[in-house]
């Protein structure tokens, strides 16, 4: 398809003249896309370019594009700098979030497709509903739930028990918050992935003697894989940039990478350093995503190729 569109059309001179005229004038499609293109250029591309420029500016200065230095990157890669610890925390938490969510979301996705029947739509709404409330508000809700003399602790004490566990402001509760926040982002691609598995194939496999586990391994999982992988990728990318969970629920018991960037921009007033860190993280996630997408051959997984 792409080759066809790019190849010069063989034919008369009139045809190529028409093409030339078209090339000089913007096509209808391009003109229609212009407003969005301008908006994206200003709103999306410009900040990226600015960040990229700042990353090579003199440390602690605000004059972008006037100086060029690699000092910021050198600072970040200096062994005495503990930013790598934040980066490891972010990566580790993101990986754990993805792993836990994969295990939690699969049965729910399976249920939404095969078990819940006409209740599926309502149950889906319950999972979407929290997204209507600001993430920070929801996280503060959990703080009230877990805090000393809060919902959990207070209720248990009222019942005459010794009170709830002291989990607030730990890395563990940070992970809990991330799993909670990103559940819909894993659940819905996964549900779509499982919906792609035709019932007939499961019936046929069963008819050919296969047991449940065999069918799951040989038929359901491979056919649902595109949805599962997209869910994992989406959750990972979101989770690696997460900051609110570590700040609000984790009480800064650990510093994640986005928090480091934020500190550089606000508290330390070192925009070039923050920019350099942002650029590094962006490139890391970008490279990872491209790598994953190149491995993720949707057409082949769906048997179209």
């Amino acid at each position: 398809m792409a080759d066809l569109a790019l190849a010069p059309a063989p034919g008369a001179a009139a045809e190529s003249a028409r093409q030339l005229r078209h090339a000089r004038m913007l096509s209808v499609g391009a003109r229609c896309a212009l407003p969005v293109a301008i908006l994206l250029g200003i709103g999306f591309l410009a900040p990226l370019v600015a960040i990229f420029g700042y990353a090579f500016a003199t440390p602690r200065s605000f004059d972008v594009f006037t100086s060029f230095t690699l000092t910021n990157f050198a600072t970040l890669f200096d062994p005495s700098n503990t930013v790598w610890l934040s980066f490891l925390w972010s990566c580790g938490l993101a990986l754990l979030t993805v792993a836990i969510l994969a295990v939690i979301a699969y049965p729910i996705a399976y249920g939404l497709n095969m078990v819940f029947g006409r209740w599926s739509a309502l149950i889906s709404v319950f999972f979407v509903f929290p997204l209507f409330v600001s993430e920070n508000v929801r996280l503060y809700g959990w703080v009230l739930f877990f805090i000393k003399n809060g919902v959990l602790d207070g209720t248990l004490k009222w019942l005459g028990l010794s009170g709830g566990p002291e989990v607030l402001y730990t890395p563990g509760v940070t992970l809990f918050g991330m799993v909670y926040t990103y559940l819909p982002f894993m659940l819905f691609p996964m549900t779509l992935g499982l919906a792609l598995v035709p019932r007939d194939l499961v019936d046929a496999a069963r008819d050919l003697g296969a047991g449940r586990l065999f069918i799951w391994r040989e038929i359901e999982l491979p056919l649902a894989m595109p949805g599962i992988l997209i869910g994992m990728l989406l959750t990972f990318v979101l989770a690696i940039g997460a900051t609110a969970e570590a700040k609000i629920l984790g009480g800064q018991s650990i510093i994640v990478i986005s928090h480091d960037i934020e500190i550089a921009f606000t508290y330390s007033q070192n925009w070039p350093l923050g920019s350099a860190l942002a650029v590094l993280v962006t490139f890391f996630i970008g490279a990872l995503t491209l790598f994953a997408l190149s491995k993720l051959d949707l057409d082949r997984m769906l048997g179209r190729r």
Binding site: P198, D200, L201, D203, A204, A205, R206, D207, L208, G209, A210, G211, F214, E218, I219, P222, L223, M301, L302, G303, R304, R305
Partner: protein, 368 residues
Amino acid sequence: MLQTLPADALSTELPKPILQLVGIRKTFGAFTAVENIDLDVREGEFLTIVGPSGSGKTTLLRMLAGMDTPSEGNITLHGKLINDVPPNKRPTCLVFQSLALFPHKSVGENIAFPLKVKGVDAAARKARALELMRIVRLPESYFDKNVMKCSGGERQRVALARALAYDPEVLFFDEPLSAIDYKLKKTLEKELKDLHRETGKTFIYITHSLEEAMVMSDRIGVMRAGRLVQVGTPEEIYGAPVDRFVCEFVGEVNTLKVKRAADGSWQGVDVPGTFTLAPPRSGAVLDEAFVVVRPEFMRILGPGESADNRLGGVVYNEYSLGSRIQYQVRVGAKVMLVELSRGRALPASLDRQVTLGWDAADAFTLES
């Protein structure tokens, strides 16, 4: 008219039943999909269940394959009750209407799937898959081909080979040829019947096309509204239909409603006239009956020719059926069909006054 042998003359030589259905009934809520079905499937036979859509034939098949359980009644295989045996524990295999091939697996992997389930090692799996590919006439080079890249006919063969790899005692087919173009369908029908001979397995085939059923089957069961109306050889279904439904299902027919008059003669209801009828096969004494005449048994009477029954009409149109010609003859408001061989074609047929005739022995007298 085709002769039918009395059932008990054959029964001594019939193979023993492999699959027995007794009083099978299936309801979905208030809807009864299958009602009171008794059927003995003989070992090694090619049995086709035929009926219009919604007649319950797929539901019946799903119960036989184990994907549904009957609401009432018993299914036995070799005399053992299998009502609640799940499909993966039954020595039966279903070829789906959609074929249900695994799109992420190659032709070879699809065919070898049941062997993989059984834990057969890779080398033996490949050997058996290649053997089955030869049987269903798939080239060996297709082993690694993506199954979704195969044509419709090739996919049929893959599905068939996969079912055979399971080595079932009974093979079920749920209209697998319905989405295939006519010419290929004709080829595959014959191949399937050849395969039936080659493997000697019991085939139960479901279709809404009686033509398909006629070509392939040893016996045909006709279903209507959840009930098995008639079971018999293709000759019996064609030559001795039990009611108008079966008659009409087999092909185009001329139907006349008749009533017994006070003097005992049969009078036409839609067309005037007195008719001579053969006694109904059931032997019942009727006051009302339907006379059914196939177009090929209807004649156009020349001067001096006689027949038990006569009707005057006008030729409205003619249709060429290849070696035969069909005429639409209007008798009053009633449309009758007559089929003649090409050699006996009427010259300048349109608007011609003709006399239709048929003998009582060539028509069916049916109660309903």
